[in-house]
Subunit: 132 residues, 2 copies
């Protein structure tokens, strides 16, 4: 993604286009907001604001900026889709899924221990323990 | 939380105090940013900006505003703790945990099926199937 700026060296990046300003060679947005992805910047601008995004990008190391922009874009899209919970909604769903799977695994392990007892002691060293 | 404004009716809310403005009775922030929780507003202001938070609050129904503020506060705190991934980091961790648990459950169910076969056909109707 960081190399995509060179593909559009004559076009302003999506951020500068959106903000109607000149895109200079040192533009902090340009490597991560190519002009062919206008929605990506529009979304992060709408949720975080351009100056907050710029501030965050200047706070992180250059090699971490692509991941930073992608996680901000993910958060912004989630908030636009769900203004109440944003991506915290996905965290709740995943937390419930983890709890459900943990319960299921415990029950299955309990079944396994019952089977191990039914089959006799010689196999219990292979089966019936909680998986690590 | 929504009732806490009445406890501090003579103090400006944390948002108005932070923004150094008069807190009026119709303040959209006041019910969700009581003056005794100054960090909550400072965090969402730093990540989203006060005007974006106000815009989001006006977009959602009044009964959803408390959840909205709490999810914004959670996201803002996560971003301040981890400027690169924010709460998307938690989503990645949870997604990996779900995949690990699903694999573990599949393996345990496969063990269970082996046990059921070893114990003979009459018990396979009770054990050895994937849990629903």
């Amino acid at each position: 993604m960081a190399s995509s700026h060179s593909n559009y060296i004559n076009s302003p990046c999506a951020a500068c286009k959106f903000l109607r300003r000149r895109c200079t060679s040192g533009c902090v947005f340009a490597p991560y907001f190519p002009p062919d992805e206008p929605t990506k910047f529009a979304n992060v601008h709408r949720i975080f604001g351009a100056s907050n995004v710029s501030k965050i990008l200047h706070e992180v190391a250059p090699h971490q900026r692509e991941d930073t922009v992608n996680s901000l874009a993910y958060e912004a899209e989630a908030r636009l889709n769900d203004p109440v919970y944003g991506c915290v909604g996905a965290i709740s769903v995943l937390q419930r899924q983890v709890l459900k799977l943990q319960r299921e695994l415990e029950e299955t392990n309990a079944d396994l221990r019952r089977y191990a007892r039914a089959l006799g002691g010689e196999t219990t060293s292979n089966y019936g323990g909680q998986r690590g």
